[in-house]
Symmetry: C2
Subunit: 439 residues, 2 copies
């Protein structure tokens, strides 16, 4: 028996009866079938203790030499192998969760050939790049599980919010003929025999769609060829886009506030354990404070880090602001020249625009849109863009383009806030940046 | 007053109090503010009748010459212009829905410059290409609204299904380094200084993710450079992808069946009016009939349109089958050579695979996956693919890749079935094919 050679067996009609977290007082004395990965193997004389893990739970499996084949299989198994176990649940004070499984049958489902090049269940976090190289395994870690549960709840909460308020879910093309905001940061592609680009944002499409659906949202990938190497940029990210007819930027600013705050309330309710594990405190001021660009301009002056009026906030300015405003806040009424051509101008050099900030991090950006064709053409020309390239968009304006406003939220940046991580790649399943195209 | 020149006014703090469908017996006698597009203008002596439309409703607005400025504004307005009206709702037997609005104030929000090159509210459908050129307007049509409501309910229903069953929602990269299933049909792009491709499917990523999340789903864009000009292909489509650990193809076939059938039940409940408008009957046999490839092979022979064993079904074979199987059915146990390298072989030349069909249309495709690294390498080589290109995927197999199975469903094709349209572009907001890259 000791010469037993382990080999992976076919799943056949073997199916689990319980997830490991479902093994509890109510299953004591019952025969169950569980599946999972071997997290650790400990020999103590003629007894073997195995910790089995699945997505959310763990369970100790204890086998004695007298169990024969089952014992020898477990004695040979290596951590990370994937097994199924049929056995009886018993109460055991010394075991994790005071329960253990006495195996009657062990099914080898996959044999691990190696150990990952980093420890998986230790508190110390290995370097991110190493973990990303083997992301599928890294994602099994308790903290990554916590991050992605929060991600799931945030997405569900967003969609529920939009559904309750009658927003139509839309999907706009990611392959586009011309750049929305000029040619910078675009990935070019070969579309049959034509040049095309990956969409940076669904901007013009979502604007058009308010003509048919009044209020729309899209949650989908957007693509930006960001050459800056920062902790807050991705080449491919999830963009939460909202657009609504017959409202202005103040209305959608409120929508942006309610959307995010509502999701935070849900996360606090559904992800208590995860927030604790990540040491995140989501107590915050609501409504979020609102400052005009002019107010921020004055504040920066008083804080000894003055800004030239009409210039964008540098990372130094943002750091200064973050010291005073460490949570969510809005900056509104930006100078027109800092905003895209489709943003509606206001009196003087200002625009009906806003950014949602969290400390020094820009999370969302929105505004009232230009809904006059002649103004749109004028603004395109001012930016050196050719109205001809926007012909398919501009012609829609001939048929009654309503006043409208909207915003786009960078979902991964928002997740950084919700999970307290400082690198955007931590909240992305398989991140893409200038240097990473695999896995 | 008659020389009044209409011009678009600012929205200011003007907000609607009701959608048009919310104007009913309960609002009679009340003052309301509504917004929408002018669908028709009819002069009858010194009275003007305007039909106003918004996303879901319509309302008659009736003004007499004695109303002064309000009358002259309405008298000059052109169809498709966008207006806001404040007024009192009264009961009026002759009006649509037996209600009309007596305006006290008219706000011009956007002036239409033209009429669309096709009638919008007539029963006769203009050519699709014409409509797609001005899609934002075309989408206002009642039948397109019906189609996209069904689309929304189908999506909501899918996500609810996955949530209830504990599937993790994931998003995998759309920019990838190498082809999943060989190099055909891929769009190449320039990723910084490297060549990359748009993902045809999240196949390998979703397989890896079952190691961390057990069961996952993704609903996102996928890209295929389809050169065939058919009514059932798009270059960019929404792919519904499902993957689950510790199960085989028979289990996920059942999941595929329950997922779709459950959404159909919801659509029948929530979209009665829309299904009637589209003349779609969603009565169907459940569970869906299941036929092995061998059974289909024999059936085709008996129907006088024989197939060479091991060959794929041609469109002629599919048409023959559709005459006998006009609704949903499965074809399972396909010859291995007809399925991708990651599908698990079965006895002989068969594979643990299935397609979900509707008549002659393939809707979904799935199977048990190969979870042995050595078999995977062997199958890659058999197909002339280089294991080296799949290095990042193959190395995951060293850490206990569980048995798993999954499927991918082409969402737009499924929508064709739900809405009864015969061209896939009808169910896509802004479709992409070999000839269409705008709008």
């Amino acid at each position: 028996m000791k010469a037993l050679k382990l080999r992976a067996e076919d799943l056949g009609d073997w199916r689990r009866t319980h997830f490991l977290k479902e093994i509890n007082e109510n299953t004591i004395g019952k025969e169950v079938r569980v599946v999972g990965w071997v997290a650790s193997v400990r020999h103590q004389g003629k007894i073997i203790f195995i910790i089995l893990r699945d997505r959310e739970g763990l369970l100790q499996i204890t086998s004695k030499e007298e169990n024969g084949e089952v014992f020898y299989k477990l004695a040979k198994i290596k951590p990370f192998s994937c097994i199924g176990v049929r056995g009886k649940v018993i109460s055991m004070v010394k075991a994790p969760r005071n329960l253990e499984l006495i195996p009657k049958e062990v099914k080898i489902l996959a044999l691990a050939k190696k150990r990952p090049p980093f420890p998986l269940y230790s508190r110390k976090l290995p370097p991110l790049d190493k973990r990303l190289d083997l992301r599928a395994i890294d994602l099994r870690r308790f903290t990554t599980q916590a991050i992605f549960k929060i991600r799931r709840v945030a997405l569900e909460s967003f969609r529920e919010f939009f559904k309750e308020r009658g927003y139509m879910e839309v999907n706009t093309p990611k392959i586009i003929a011309s750049a929305t905001e000029g040619g910078a940061n675009l990935f070019p592609l070969l579309y049959y025999d034509k040049e095309a680009f990956l969409a940076q944002s669904p901007q013009l499409y979502k604007e058009e769609l308010v003509m048919a659906f009044d209020r729309v949202y899209e949650i989908a990938s957007a693509f930006r060829a960001e050459k800056s190497k920062t902790l807050t940029h991705l080449s491919e990210f999830l963009s939460v886009d909202v657009e609504e007819a017959f409202v202005n930027y103040k209305d959608v600013m409120k929508t942006c506030e309610e959307l995010t705050y509502n999701s935070i309330l849900n996360i606090k309710k559904e992800c208590k354990e995860e927030l604790e594990a990540l040491k995140v405190n989501l107590e915050l001021e609501y409504p979020y404070p609102r400052f005009s660009y002019d107010e921020i301009f004055k504040e920066l002056e008083s804080l000894g880090n003055p800004l030239t009026w009409g210039e964008d906030l540098s990372s130094s300015h943002l750091d200064t602001l973050a010291k005073k405003h460490s949570s969510f806040y809005f900056i509104y009424d930006w100078p027109s020249n800092l905003k895209p051509f489709y943003i509606k101008p206001k009196r003087g050099k200002l625009s009906e625009s806003f950014d949602l900030m969290f400390g020094s991090l820009e999370l969302a950006s929105g505004g009232t849109r230009v809904n006059s064709k002649s103004l749109m053409i004028k603004k395109l020309k001012e930016r050196g863009l050719k109205p001809k390239s926007f012909e398919y968009h501009l012609k829609v304006f001939d048929y009654g383009m309503p006043p409208h406003a909207g915003f786009g939220l960078g979902f991964e940046r928002y997740l950084m806030v919700l999970t307290g991580v400082n690198n955007i790649k931590e909240v992305t399943f398989f991140p893409r940046d200038q240097f990473r195209l695999v896995p």
